[in-house]
Amino acid sequence: MNKAESILKPILEDVNEPGKAIVRELERTGKKAVGCMLEFCPEELIYAAGMLPVGLWGGDVELYHAKRYFPAFFCAPVQQSLELALRGAYDGVLSAVVVPILCDTLKSAGQNWRIAVPHIPMIPIVYPQNRSIDAGRAFLRGELADVQKKLEQVCGHAIGQESLEQAIELYNDYRLAMQEFSAEAARHADVITPTVRHSVFRCGLLRDKKDYLDTVRALTAALKELPAVEGKRRVAVTGIALDIPEILAAMDKNGLTVTADTLAQEYGQVATLVPPEGEAMERLAGWWSRVRCSSLAIDEKKERADYMVSLVAQGQADGVVVAVPSFCDPEEYDYPILRAAFERAGVPHVYLEVNDRSGTEQAQSRLQAFAELFS
């Protein structure tokens, strides 16, 4: 086992058993955990409060209790997270959950959580649509201040300005480290398979960023010591998340290498740095106005489509995998625009509808056929 592989082993283990990993981190750090439901949460505020932000992206669980709140046609991660909460999986683990209101489903996700899981406080945050004007940034500052107040009730003390500045710097360092990892990972198709690459990003949503930053830096350094092995079937992935083990395994099996992504769960978490200007809250609010290529942040020109095309045009990828969660309307609106752009530019792409671990056969077949395009 080389150095990179020895660093990767515990990462893969944590991602296979995220619940266990979080409990271990809580015991190790002595911190409280705050769940971050799906895409974009102000993790820096949670971290500055001395708590551990952990990603809440559902899990492999059969839906039963959640059906009292959601009809079947709502996205799996939201329903699974509520189901796990109702089964008591987060009792004694999560001290609160932050729900970013980025789509219609997350509106009701927050409301249903508040009613169904009253013992784990729900802290909502609404992000502005008009995110690049002063009024939008001011509104977001107000929302962040509200989140801060509620987090302070959970942690039991005030969040100091200095702690927040430090958390912002830590998270920016983490983002830069993950960006560097992503670039290096693309050069090691033999070690960094799609499953491994996903796991490195996913693990960042489970562990304390301060320690994980060192791990990622060590991993990237270890990768740099290895000879480059370029993938023969290099793809860029776009969507919300591609975290179904069976689908990732199909990508591995078909020799695909992920060289870039704009997944909200993966590179989307680290793509945008918190800007340096202003006091801490202003900086956090300014982050949202800089987010690009996401179906959740207003994008009048649909730059996302141009960006994905450019990845192929510039030789960073040979094709695109579009991973759309079932019932995810922000992604479903973007897909026809993406498809038209890909067809115009001659970019090969495959559309995967991602739901839960059952019924992934169609996605696996599509990936196989897609991989054969590059044979």
Binding site: P128, K302, P336
Partner: protein
Amino acid sequence: MSEEKIRAKDLLNRLLDQHYEEAWEAKRQGKPVGWVSSNFPQEFLEAMGLTVCYPENHSTSLSAKHESMDMIHEAERLGYNNDLCGYARVNLGFVSKGDCESLKMPLPDYVVCSNNICNQLVKWFENVAKICDIPLIVFDIPFNNEYEVSENRMEYMRAQIPHLIAQLEEATGAKWDEARFQEVMEISNECGRQWQRASKYFESKPSPMNGFEMFNYMALMVCARGRRETVEAIRLLADELEACYQAGETTFRGEPKYRVMMEGIACWPHLKHNYQTLKNSGCNLTGTVYTETWGRTYKDLDEMLRSYSVVLDNTNVDRACDRRVNLARRAQCDGAVIHMNRSCKAWDGILYEMERRIRDQLNIPTTMYDGDQSDPRSYTEAQYESRVQGLCEVMGSRKKGESER
């Protein structure tokens, strides 16, 4: 020769025809035509004298006229998932085709929307803007997690107004007219008052009307509630209902045994079947928040903004439930028919909780059916009929129990 008395229905049809004709005339004259979302604060647009169309209205009409599937097929051919809002799919299909059979609407030169209806609207209009290569103007009305509208939200809405006006001026060449804005607010208020008057009779017992008729008038409230002629049309409707009520008459054709609340956006492609099934079971529609929401009145700009903030799907679950419970109580409903509208996640995500609270707080039976506001494929007549039958059996046994006591 005596002049024949104009009825509210005739005036409604005339004004709706006029609405589309004005848009075409603007196009002919080379003036920009905008597309706007239904719960956008129209006062801003009317004050600037802009010519606009409302795609939600248009999709509704095509759906009710059984023409939605042509557009939906086109949208799905382009890659739009059948999971998406039916109005959006109809409209995006229409944008692609550029034409439809019965209700022709000019394509837009700019689009304007608010997200107080839902976030999907922003994505939908974003796509229209991209496809047509035209400006997208958004007035952000954030979701209310709390019962009341927070000061942070109020401040944000107020602060966006100069930006909104600047964007509208740039897109259209029109100029802001503050005096006209004040006048439009007055007209809109009067329109809201007349709508409330009509709604009061719609909800009264006995009801002077077949409740489904209220849906027809909603189209006018969506597209022209800042206009004097709309005030007159709605005043005429309220007058007619008042006269009917005073005379003890009703336009409901059947024996009104039960008063029901309908929850959710109308199932336009099957509205006739909805209506006939209820009518044949002796159910009259006497309350729906779907129409109630247009009775908007306010005293000043802040109240106006607040009223747009607390529209149906922009409130937290407690306020949403209270609105339904209060309406059903006021309208003395015996039961509720709830539409699990496949199109509308903003509504459906809290629908089960709303049903529970309606049942628990009012002790009335409810039934839920599957359908869609535009896509006829989501509805089955047999399911609707059996659900209504079940509801009527419970309402009937309760009435029997009450009379025996």
